[in-house]
Subunit: 393 residues, 2 copies
C-alpha cells in the first residue's frame, strides 16, 4: 500500500496529475464500493459521475434477498446472491464504522405471503424450489404469520419466513459509500464519461448501470421499475417490522419498512426505457399493498418514482474484463440485484484490478465473454439507447 | 368612474397613499374577480395575499356544473349555481378579451355515468331529482354514451348528459384574473392580513377561503379534497372530450380532460384539515377512474395533491355584510363551488361595495346573518384553526 494515501487532492490547482490506477465510471453503490475497496488497497482511484446515486439505486428498495429472489433456472445467480448476502453484515459494520453513517441495515427478515388460495399455491411452488436448493425457508401457519405481523390482512392465506433476507436503505448507502471512498483517498469527479477512449487509467471499471451498453457494447438493457414511498402517519414507525413480499390476486408486491416511518412499495418490471410513472402501475401497487396490509391505506403517499435497472439476457450481472480490452472491467448488469451484490462485486473487481484471483470460480459464470458480442464501443445498444445513457455515464 | 384609473402605483416610493376604497383579503378566483369588477367601476382596490392562487383553486378541477352538482336539499344553492353558470360564457369571453389568456373554458358538456347496476340506480335517483327541478338532464342509452365517448368502459351500464355543465382551468383562470384586475388598476400586495382591525379601507372584502373563519368568526371549516392529475401519453390530448362524472362500485369520481393532455381526477371529501395525500385515497380515485375509462391506466400520474375547501354548515357560500360590521363583506364559504360561483359572487359583492342592490333577492339566502354567530373576530373557529389559516389570509 502506498503510504500517505493517494496523491490526489480536490483543490482546483493541484498541479500535474498522475495517471490514476483505476478510473471507475459510475458512482452508484457498485462503483463507489469498488472505489472504496481499491482505495483501501492503496490504488489511486478516480470516480467519474455527474450525478452520484441518481440511477437505479435512487429508486431501489434495498432488499438483501437471495432467498426470496431465488427463481427457477437461476442457480448460479442464486449462488452469487447468497455469497454476497453473507458478506453484508461485515460490509455494513465496516462501512458504518468508517463513516458513522446509519445505512438502515436491518435484519428482521422477510415474510413471504400469499393473499388468496391461488396466490398461496403459486408462492408454494417457489418456496419448495428454494427449499430444494437448501435455502432457509420456513413455512408459517396463518396464526404464526399474524403473531409475527399482526397488521397483515386477515385474508392472507399463508406464508413463509426467509429469516436471512435482510434490508438496507440505498439512499443512505450511497452517501455512506461515497464518504468511505473519499476518506480512503478516492476522488469523485462530477463529469460524465462519453467514451472509454478518453479515459487515461491503468484499469477502467465500467459501473455505469444501463450506461454500460453505450460505453462497451455489452448487452445491458433498461428494465423499468416503478416504486412508491409511503410514510406512516403522525411521524411514527411503520406498523410492521419484516420486509413483506407477497402475491395479492396475482400481483407481486413488496413492502419494505424503514425505521423512520418510510415504507417502500414496489415494483413493476417493464421492458421500457422511459421513467414516467403510470396511473395503472400505481393502482396495481397500491391495491396489492393495501390488500396485504390494510393500514397502509392511512399512510401518506409521499413519492412515486420510476427507474431503470440494468438488465442482461440471463438476468445475471456482467463482471470482469472485456474480451478484447483486458484493462476494462465490467461491473454492470446487476438488474434487480445491485444492492445485495455490492459487496461481492466490489471484492471481485478489486481483486481483478490489483491483478489477483482472476480465476476465482465465483466469477466464472458472470464474465463478459459469455455473450460473444462485439465490444468495440457500440454493439448491442442502438443510438437511441446511447443518447439516453449519457445521463448515466 | 375616476378618469385615469386609480392613484396607486406599484413603485417603491409612491408618495402618500390614499385609503383604498376596497381592500380584498385573498387572491383566489373569488377575490381577484371582485377586485377586477370593483376596479372596473373606478374604485381604488388593493388585494392582499402573500400567495395568490395557492388555496383551494390550485387543487380545484374547475367544473362549472350546476346540474351535476344539484343535490337533494340544496335548492337555493342550485339556483345560485345555475345563475352563475349562466354568466360564465360572457365572463370567460370578457376575461380572455381583457387579457389574451386562454383560460381553458370548454363547453363539451358533462356525461354522468354509472358503472354497475347499483351505481346506475343511485345515479338515476339524483337525475330524476335534477329533472324535477327543470334542469337539462338527458338520459342516454349505453350505445349513445359510447357514441359520445368510445373510451368509456364497456361495463358502464348507463348515463346521462348535462350539456350545459362546462369547465374551466383554475390554474389558468387565476393568472388571467390577476392580470385583468391589475390592468383595471387594482394593486396586489403580497402580504397577509392577520386581523381586520389593521385594514384601512372604505370596504373590506374577506375572500380568504378557510382563512375567513379566523378573520371574521364565520362558521367556515376546511373540507379536505384529494385530487390527481394525469397526463395523456406521448403529449397528445386525452382520449375523451366530455367531463365525466361517475359512480364506480359506490365510489364517486370525476374526470376532467384538458386540451393539452391533462386529466384531473377527483376528489375526496373529508372532514380533515391536513393536506397530506393518503395511499387509500389515491387507490380509490385511481380504481374508480380506470374502471370507468380503462385507457387512463396508460396515462402518466403527474401530480397528487390535497387542498382545503371552505365549507359551511349548509354547504352554501356566505355573501354580504357582517351583521355587526356593515363595511366588512364576506365572500367565502364556497366549498365545492368556488370556480362556478366566481362571476355571480364578483357581481353581487361589487354591487354591495358600490352601495347598490343590497336587497338583491339572489343574495338573501346567503347572507352572513343566517348563522347568528358572533362575528367579533374569533367565533366558531378555534385557535388551532386560526393558526392553520394564517397561510391563507
Amino acid at each position: 500500500m502506498l503510504s500517505g494515501g493517494p496523491s490526489y487532492t480536490r483543490g482546483v490547482s493541484r498541479g500535474p496529475l498522475l495517471t490514476p490506477d483505476v478510473v471507475v465510471v459510475g458512482a452508484g453503490p457498485v462503483g463507489l464500493a469498488i472505489a472504496w475497496r481499491c482505495a483501501q488497497r492503496g490504488l489511486r482511484v478516480v470516480v467519474r459521475d455527474p450525478a452520484p446515486g441518481s440511477g437505479a439505486s435512487h429508486v431501489a428498495a434495498g432488499m438483501l434477498a437471495p432467498v426470496a429472489e431465488a427463481y427457477f433456472g437461476e442457480r448460479e445467480l442464486t449462488g452469487l446472491l447468497t455469497e454476497s448476502a453473507a458478506r453484508w453484515p461485515e460490509f455494513a459494520a465496516e462501512l458504518e464504522a468508517a463513516t458513522g453513517v446509519d445505512i438502515g441495515y436491518r435484519t428482521e427478515g422477510t415474510l413471504m405471503v400469499g393473499l388468496t388460495a391461488d396466490d398461496l399455491a403459486e408462492a408454494r411452488r417457489l418456496w419448495a424450489y428454494q427449499q430444494e436448493l437448501g435455502l432457509p425457508v420456513t413455512p408459517l401457519r396463518p396464526s404464526q404469520l399474524r403473531e409475527r405481523e399482526p397488521a397483515l390482512a386477515p385474508r392472507v392465506r399463508g406464508g413463509a419466513l426467509a429469516a436471512t433476507d435482510h434490508q438496507v436503505d440505498p439512499r443512505r448507502l450511497v452517501p455512506a459509500l461515497r464518504l468511505a471512498a473519499e476518506r480512503a483517498g478516492a476522488v469523485l469527479v462530477p463529469e460524465p464519461v462519453r467514451n472509454l477512449a478518453g479515459v487515461l487509467a491503468g484499469v477502467t471499471v465500467v459501473a455505469a448501470g444501463c450506461g454500460a451498453a453505450a460505453l462497451t457494447g455489452l448487452p445491458v438493457r433498461p428494465v423499468k421499475g416503478q416504486v412508491l414511498r409511503l410514510r406512516a402517519p403522525d411521524g411514527g414507525p411503520p406498523g410492521f417490522r419484516h420486509v413483506i413480499r407477497g402475491y395479492a390476486d396475482g400481483e407481486q408486491v413488496y413492502l419494505v419498512p424503514r425505521q423512520h416511518g418510510e415504507v417502500v412499495v414496489g415494483a413493476t418490471v417493464e421492458e421500457r426505457s422511459d421513467v414516467d410513472v403510470s396511473a395503472g402501475a400505481v393502482l396495481r401497487l397500491l391495491r396489492a399493498a393495501i390488500e396485504l396490509l390494510p393500514e397502509l391505506a392511512e399512510y401518506d403517499l409521499v413519492e412515486t418514482v420510476a427507474g431503470l435497472r440494468p438488465g442482461t439476457p440471463d438476468n445475471a450481472p456482467i463482471l470482469g474484463p472485456l474480451p478484447d480490452r483486458p484493462n476494462v472491467l465490467a461491473a454492470t448488469g446487476h438488474h434487480r440485484h445491485g444492492i445485495v451484490l455490492t459487496p461481492v462485486t466490489a471484492d471481485l473487481i478489486t481483486d481483478l484490478a490489483t491483478g489477483g484471483a482472476t480465476d476465482d470460480p465465483l466469477l466464472a459464470p458472470f464474465r463478459p465473454d459469455r455473450f460473444h458480442t462485439g465490444t468495440g464501443g457500440r454493439g448491442v445498444a442502438g443510438s437511441e439507447q446511447s443518447r439516453k445513457d449519457e445521463a448515466w455515464s
